[in-house]
Point group: C2
Chain length 351, copies 2
DNA sequence: CAGTAGGGTGGGAGCGCTCCCATCGGTGAT
DNA sequence: ATCACCGATGGGAGCGCTCCCACCCTACTG
């Protein structure tokens, strides 16, 4: 438990006011950039602020103004996954970038497990942030609904379903998957397997749908022997690849819905004596560090994670402003509350 | 800019007190776990808290108590590096773990560039955290000294020099380097090159020292043609390896002071037609994702990053407690303020 | 020249909590 | 029975800020 801080007392508004020979209200106006202050007064105050090295006490401000000037990025995952996936890092980078222009602070929070989630919910309820960015959400995630219910401005990084009530930003998983499959087909592959993600993640559903539709568009029939369901982990990729080789030994291409799963698949393919890309072409999703360092380089679908982070931040700031005016965000038109950003196929040696 | 929050008003201490038929002070005591409350009263208060769904307002608490119950992890790096290195993820994981037992919140902050650092310093000065964990510090980092000067409890993740004034936690870079070199020598290598890190990082100095001493201990003389200085990046590793091959074409082993540099070195070795490990053995430092996915797997010196994070948190909590009592931390004995944790060599196919 | 806008300003009233002092019984000692 | 004492409790006094109302003075208007 923390105790009383003792780093030397800092000057208060009152002291600045005294020094500048004005009232508290005036100093507050200057600090907050109100236009209703004469230039002379403003200059005097600014000088006093500089001389005293005044920095507003945020706790006092938060208490009086009922806002915190900070937003939280909530990751309902263990940190390990968070750090191993470039998806998150790009996202957080984009958020940071977007925030740099405002004077909001970024708070990064993890919530692995139920107990942690409760703690976090209490924390958020304690009114410590103005808004929340929820990243990587599963369909049955209770936190999203709790936030919605508590009426805390929130944006999520991928809709949980087609009719997501919360504003969201997502990549075009469907088109990304189609481009990957199209690429494989255009390379002459005819038996394209997929290692799908867990279907309680909406984005995983969309990728699978893209795979199916692209095959259909090319006149190839959907063969469920070519479909395996992983969990986005390397181990899952290994398991799926083993299954697929057993069921469809004749496959000549694999589209793994995450780079980590692709990496697992690669190991199994190697052990089975299949050469990449000669015997089997491999494509991943995410374009992570792993993709670049794999042997051979892994062709992968890149998501514009930085832009996503930035877009989410923009939406959230809107939400917060709306909340301030007392309007519920549901008053807004749906379309502009759900952004979908394009993907890009990065071709490397594996296909 | 954020605006006034409007999520429905939450109950206050006063309301809980009224409901429980007691005074404000008593409720406060219960909330904060003071022993000076009778069991009957405590039960009544707890019931009222539950019924009203009371959650203390942290801003008010921070203002009144002059503490925030949160600490910041400050990373003076761009996020990209932060996320690509497992060093950080383990660290943050350890901190999170240590914090789970207390009721402190974790704040993650980046400060790339001077302007950001100023902003951050102001933020910290605004008294928004009880303490700071400074990760990855260069010798000339101004932030560390500023924190010291502002008298804000701080712990850093690697001393900047041998007489670091701030409490610190570090890995045994020296011993780690020695174990890497010892391993190479025991495998019969006789011409071991090193790709060192930037010498303004204390840890990089220690690794170089370990390399030199281990060679000396084995009766091998130090040959400066076998030493190149990188910057911990992949590109730097490439450059260094190129240099080394030019200067010492006969080398049969390379100790790279980071996995990323090892990866760069590997590329150059490949292009030069040297087989790993047959012609040249390669060892890295960090044991990152890259090490596991390299072809062949990279032998690497692992740091106990999780434990480091935990240890740093422990030291910081002590610091905060001391500050609360008004004592300066310098009053403590030096030894227990500088922890050094052991490394472990993970052997893979590259050596 | 009185009358009326305003822009500019000062400062009271909180925001919800912690701290601490005063108070109130009850207990054991004298 | 009297008194000192202690645990349990109530509530005043802020913490440093924002909000907002009242006020002042200058600059027009009619």
């Amino acid at each position: 438990m923390a105790a009383r801080g003792t780093h030397g007392r800092r000057p208060t508004l009152e002291e600045v006011a005294a020094r500048a020979g004005v009232g508290r209200g005036t100093v507050s106006r200057v600090i907050n950039g109100s236009p209703r202050v004469s230039d002379r007064t403003r200059a005097a105050v600014e000088e006093a602020v500089a001389e005293l090295g005044y920095v507003p006490n945020t706790a006092a401000r938060a208490l009086a103004a009922n806002r915190t000037d900070s937003i939280a990025v909530v990751v309902p995952e263990a940190e390990s996954r968070f750090f191993s996936e470039p998806y998150f890092s790009g996202m957080v980078g984009g958020v940071g970038m977007a925030l740099a222009e405002s004077n909001l602070q970024l708070l990064l929070t993890f919530a692995r497990g139920e107990r942690e989630q409760d703690r976090l919910a209490a924390y958020l309820a304690a009114h410590r942030v103005d808004g929340v960015l929820l990243v990587s959400v599963h369909a049955d995630d209770p936190l999203a609904d709790r936030l919605l219910q508590m009426d805390i401005p929130t944006v999520i990084s991928g809709p949980r379903s087609a009719d997501e009530p919360l504003p969201s930003v997502d990549t075009d998983n469907y088109a990304g998957a189609r481009s990957a499959v199209d690429h494989l087909l255009s390379r002459g592959r005819r038996s394209v397997a997929i290692i799908a993600g867990p279907l309680d993640v909406y984005g995983a559903q969309r990728r699978l749908a893209g795979y199916e539709d692209e095959l259909a568009a090319s006149g190839l029939s959907y063969d469920e022997k070519l479909v395996a369901y992983g969990d986005f982990t390397e181990e899952g990729g290994r398991r799926c690849m083993t299954e697929l080789l057993e069921r469809s030994p004749g496959l000549d291409a694999v589209f793994a819905c995450s780079d980590l799963m692709a990496s697992g698949a690669r190991q199994v393919l190697r052990e089975a004596g299949r050469r990449i890309p000669d015997d089997v072409a491999l494509v991943g999703f995410d374009d992570s560090v792993i993709a670049r360092h794999m042997e051979p380089g892994l062709t992968s679908v890149r998501q514009p994670t930085r832009d996503m982070g930035r877009a989410m931040t923009g939406l959230l700031l809107d939400e917060i402003a709306l909340a301030a005016e007392g309007k519920r965000s549901s008053a807004r038109r749906g379309a502009e509350r759900h952004l979908v950003l394009p993907t890009e196929l990065v071709v490397r040696g594996s296909s």
